[in-house]
């Protein structure tokens, strides 16, 4: 049960060593830097150091309580990342597969919209563009809000023009 923020690349295999012992089901999600346009040289990720690890730990603990996880791990990078490098991973372990799947999905929704990271795409020409939040990410998060979890007090961002 741990959350970590780092600049260095990570290896999914190494991160999962010893993970989920005693569980019946382990789900992992890995996000990878993708270049949809052929224009991107790198991704830069800014974060809020004083807040990030605590926020990730809180989300992990919430997911563990809600889905009865036996183990969980969150790892998120910041700094400059090349196309094809891993950005982050979530791993969840539970007795049954439904809980492990749902918890991983839930954590991803929280990380996308509530963890203090901001992505900026750096083009081959050096131009930088902040990635805009997607309303679909906000919608995804609202799926879980029927629960007793505190609802984030802001309105959803405007529709993503993309």
């Amino acid at each position: 049960m741990s959350a970590r923020v780092q600049t260095a690349p990570f290896d999914l295999a190494a991160e999962l060593a010893g993970f989920g012992a005693g569980a019946g089901a382990v789900v992992t999600f890995t996000g990878i830097v993708r270049d949809d346009t052929g224009q991107m040289a790198a991704l830069e990720i800014e974060h809020y150091p004083a807040m990030t690890e605590r926020a990730l730990s809180d989300y992990g603990a919430q997911a563990a309580a809600r889905f009865g996880l036996t183990d969980w791990r969150i790892l998120h990078r910041h700094g400059r990342l090349a196309v094809g490098e891993p950005i982050m991973m979530v791993a969840t372990a539970a007795r049954h597969r439904a809980a492990a799947f749902q918890a991983a999905d839930y954590l991803m929704d929280w990380l996308k919209s509530r963890a203090p990271f901001w992505k900026r795409e750096i083009g081959h020409d050096g131009a930088a563009r902040w990635v805009e939040a997607k309303s679909s990410d906000e919608d995804a998060l609202s799926r879980w809000q029927a629960s007793s979890l505190p609802k984030y007090p802001f309105p959803a961002p405007a529709d993503d023009p993309a």
Binding site: G31, I45, E46, H47, Y48, A50, M51, R54, A55, H76, I87, M88, M108, L111, K112, S113, R114, A115, P116, F117, W118, K119, R120, W130, V131, E132, A133, D137, Y152, P153, F154, P155, P157, A158
Partner: protein, 83 residues
Amino acid sequence: MTLDVLYFAWLRERIGQPRERIETDAATVRELIADLAARDDWHAAAFSDLAAVRCAVDQQLASLDAPLAGAREVAFFPPMTGG
């Protein structure tokens, strides 16, 4: 009271600095924003569209109407794009 105010992503770029220490009598985040926006054109530009501004008070996500009593650090940033 004395507050550390932090800026991230394009709010940081528009304001031109990642943090500043200020004296304010603001009772809520919204009042603090009004104080800050009155400082100069850069602050005013950063806070020109509050629908695009999120904040945290002492490292906890908070509403613009959150009270500031006892707060030490307020951060402003655009909607988060992690994951």
